[in-house]
Amino acid sequence: MAKQEQSGSIIQFASFESAVDESFWHKLSSLKLNKLGIDDSPIPITGFYAPCSHTQVSNPLTIVAESFPSGTNKELAVPTISHGNRNRCLVPGIVYNTNTIEDFRKLEKQKLLKEEAKKIWEDIHTGKAVEDSALLLRFLLISFADLKKWSFHYWFAFPALILDPPATLVDLKPASQWFSPEEAESVTTACNEWRSSSLTADVPFFLVSIASNSYSTVRHLTDYEACQGDSQKLLFGFYDPCHLPNNPGWPLRNFLALICSRWNLKTVHFLCYRENRGFADLGLSLVGEALITVPQGWRDRQCVPNVVGWELNKRRIESRCINLATSMDPTRLAVSAA
């Protein structure tokens, strides 16, 4: 069903969605009141995501109280969140929390987005993104916490490097149709093992190598060269937060940028890895073949590609606002407790 009239069309990626747990705003408020004061320098935070695990909804990038670094100094940028929780793949992010609504509005959003894009671009060129692939998912959050009204203005961006010309799609279909039954069985087993080992459960980008006897293995990106000899088919897999049957999710964008600039491939087979109720589901997962034309100036490390990624709010280009007075305002809490 996905196959028809897709040939040669531009790949359209479904945007990442954000979800903010209430605990994040409580933590930000207490940090602001008790520690940060008027210091508005950016703070490194950690977001969480997981592959799509329901047929009807995509998985968002979530931030919670633990997203903030736990050290006593905020310069202690290393979050103490443990690796290995399969439902919490760690994504590095940064928050710019301003002191006033005016400052919030005045933030140079395109500039901030470009700065994050530059970090991703650097990590691609230095090879850091191959070692730690979650760096490809960097996100940006700007916010203003109005602690008089207990309302929070915020805006997420998920920076994606633009391929120019855009990647096109030769073929996209459910993984269960692309693989032979033997391959499908072996890929399912290999993916479930990858997802259940605490060493790899939260590694969102990987390689799927299939030998001529259909035996499949899931391997780290650092094994790319080693895979050249022994695999008959090699796919670039990623945890796809998107549930849509005809579109890959946002993480594939920077992954394609990495693949194209690092390994100089023109044709890429990718696997949008998705789950149903926590287990590999090749009916939901997609396999596609993308054609990439290496963009002009792509070899030049100084020349950072253009970037997109500010999240829309109900299809509009604007920030969001949430009011938590009912759970945070001491006077209201006192009234409801009386």
Binding site: I10, I11, Q12, F13, A14, S15, E17, S18, A19, V20, D21, E22, S23, H26, S53, H54, Q56, V57, S58, P60, T62, A65, N85, R86, N87, R88, R105, E108, K109, Q110, K149, S151, I162, L163, P166, A167, R195, C242, L244, N247, R253, R277, G278, V308, W310, N313, K314, R315, I317, E318, S319, R320, C321, I322, N323, L324, T326, S327, S336, A337
Partner: protein, 313 residues
């Protein structure tokens, strides 16, 4: 919160402080769990249904009788495609519900209790489409914190229209990425919500306790009151109340655990009368199955395609 509820909370808090957690198993006798059994059953849930995981919650709210990394269980981003109220209309039409326990009229309801034989009676039932079009009872708007009526302080969102040029005309970005139900008409967009469902251990009642945090279709937090629309209407505001979460900030809807032990005891008795010896590590599967009768449209995972216990015969 009503005064009686407050008094009870205070009493319960005091009892919890001065009594130790249950250590002796009374699973089969009373339908309750010791702390160790809760962890055992939780580990089993996480292993069989990996969308669930243990979390530690707010450090200041940690319970010393639970391991720091296993304070409560949570599954996030669970779809809820329709409001329970509209589903109940369909139940009414399709044969209604039966009480598991009808001694005092506050018992648990078994959904799908008496499913009618659809094959021969479908014709004279109103169709699902007809019911959904009947707008007078369905909930159309989703009040969120973002758009609550009393928040007239919130500045008009139009003020935030961007001065700098953020219009991104990128052909590789898929336009309109709403969480859309299978048939993308306006109605379905409004109906789609997601939930974080968490399970805590209630030391006073010695049973698990379920909490709901809801989000609208653009993943904005729902007022706890709106969450009651996704609770079986027989339970809303009776067995389901809005209270402080023991491990997370804010008010959340919760299925009150006062009758959990009794209901679990009944389920266990039924199993045992069929010669099945229930195993305590399966407790949460049974528990979540009965909770599904309270929140029928929240599609969390409690798959149970394995034996509930060992056959004793």
């Amino acid at each position: 919160m009503m005064l009686s509820q407050k008094l009870h909370e205070a009493f319960k808090g005091t009892v919890e402080r001065i009594t130790g957690p249950r250590t002796v198993s009374a699973f089969k006798e009373k339908g309750v769990l010791s702390v160790t059994e809760f962890i055992l059953a939780g580990d089993n849930l996480v292993a069989k249904c990996p969308t669930w995981s243990w979390e530690s919650g707010e450090p200041s709210k940690r319970k010393s009788y639970l391991p720091p990394e296993k304070q409560f269980l949570i599954t996030r981003n669970v779809p809820c495609m329709r409001r329970a109220a509209s589903v109940e209309e369909e139940y009414e039409a399709a044969g209604g519900e039966v009480l598991i326990d009808n001694e005092d009229n506050d018992g648990w309801l078994a959904t799908h209790g008496k499913p009618k034989d659809k094959s021969d009676e479908d014709d004279n039932l109103p169709s699902m489409e007809a019911l959904e079009i009947d707008k007078k009872n369905s909930i159309r708007s989703i009040p969120t914190y973002f758009g609550g009526e009393e928040e007239e302080d919130i500045p008009d969102i139009a003020e935030y229209e961007e001065a700098d040029n953020l219009v991104e005309t990128d052909p590789a970005t898929l336009q309109s990425t709403y969480i859309v139900a299978q048939e993308p008409d306006d109605d379905n967009i409004l109906r789609t919500r997601t939930y974080d469902v968490s399970i805590t251990y209630d030391k006073y009642y010695q049973t698990p306790r379920v909490w709901l945090t809801g989000y609208d279709e653009s993943r904005m937090l729902l007022q706890p009151e709106s969450v009651l629309e996704d609770v079986s209407q027989d339970h809303a505001r009776k067995t389901v109340t809005i209270e402080d979460h023991p491990h997370l900030p804010g008010k959340h809807a919760s299925v009150h655990p006062c009758r959990h032990g009794a209901v679990m005891k009944k389920i266990i008795d039924v199993l045992m009368s069929h010669g099945v010896e229930p195993e305590v590590d399966k407790y949460l599967f049974l528990f979540l199955k009965f909770v599904a009768s309270v929140i029928p449209t929240i599609e969390y995972d409690y798959t149970m395609d394995f034996d509930l216990g060992s056959y004793s015969s």
